[in-house]
Symmetry: C2
Subunit: 182 residues, 2 copies
Amino acid sequence: MTVSSRALAERGGATPAQVRKDLSFFGSFGKRGIGYPTIELARRIRGILGLGRPYRVILVGAGRIGAALANYPGFEARGFDIAAIYDADPSKIGTVLDAQTVRPAERIESDLAAEPADIAVIGTPAAAAQAMADRLVASGVRALLNFAPVALVVPAGVTVANVNMALELEALTFALASGRRA
Amino acid sequence: MTVSSRALAERGGATPAQVRKDLSFFGSFGKRGIGYPTIELARRIRGILGLGRPYRVILVGAGRIGAALANYPGFEARGFDIAAIYDADPSKIGTVLDAQTVRPAERIESDLAAEPADIAVIGTPAAAAQAMADRLVASGVRALLNFAPVALVVPAGVTVANVNMALELEALTFALASGRRA
DNA sequence: GAGTGTGAAATTGTTCACAGCG
DNA sequence: CGCTGTGAACAATTTCACACTC
């Protein structure tokens, strides 16, 4: 079973040449005249993305965002294992979210010392996000997924991905206001 | 009160030249030797983004994502007014989320006919997202914020912004796996 | 014949550097 | 004198087009 660059491009909204160039960057595993063998392609992409192993993910902030993430389907399916959930609010501690008991934020350092995590998801209020990022980085976390609407400052070697819903909405208002086609 | 392109660049993680080029695209409203007058700058940017008026936003899907969004602070603050929340699940209908009673999804068409909305947020399961997008577009919605992990197909003139948490996480695993600095 | 892999051309985006204004 | 606005130089990305292989 194979897929052509054309078919992939159509699905992903790109051009066939784009797909080929991008894939060729990581090696050449397509068959000329045929396309890319799907199984092999998927395996290679998983390898490129580093999805060959499970990742320990911790969640900081058990508010609405935390709740939404804890129950996100196809999360565990992709090898992401939510190992712990933390919150600073005493009223949240001890409550259960997706089979995880919410732990006090003070325990983050000691827990991470015992069992390091690869990725931390920050779903705290904006005011607490930078301080939390600092603590997490100091405890060895090297990748942050930040939902707080602030630009986190982290040392080199730490990667931050931001999700900012207000920004996304403003991209939409811009499109509406400028009458851009999409 | 003014800000220089250098100061803006530092905050936003760009170069001064970049900031000046980008702003000059929309006109020249800086003062040479001084910088950009902050009040005027903010006013112009709001104008560019189309934030001069409030936007009616409807929310489809009253699950975790819907709940997180309904309570998102600094949402109303930015002129986004959540006008209605819908769900297909009978057990959710009638429940209250952020002072809004969840309405049955069948009412979308008639409600939109009476009061059009600018933007719809799709927080349904992936399987229902495309059908819902079709209905919304047919009812006149011109901008969609999609949280379902599917690539929506919409006619030209409709803008879609996607938020895909799994994708963001995979960007992080890629950075971790390839040892990229950030 | 169909479709990849890839240099070379075209395009797009970024940085430089400086004239000109406040 | 500081800082914007902007062409011109430079860098990165995308597209083209075609040799090559299955």
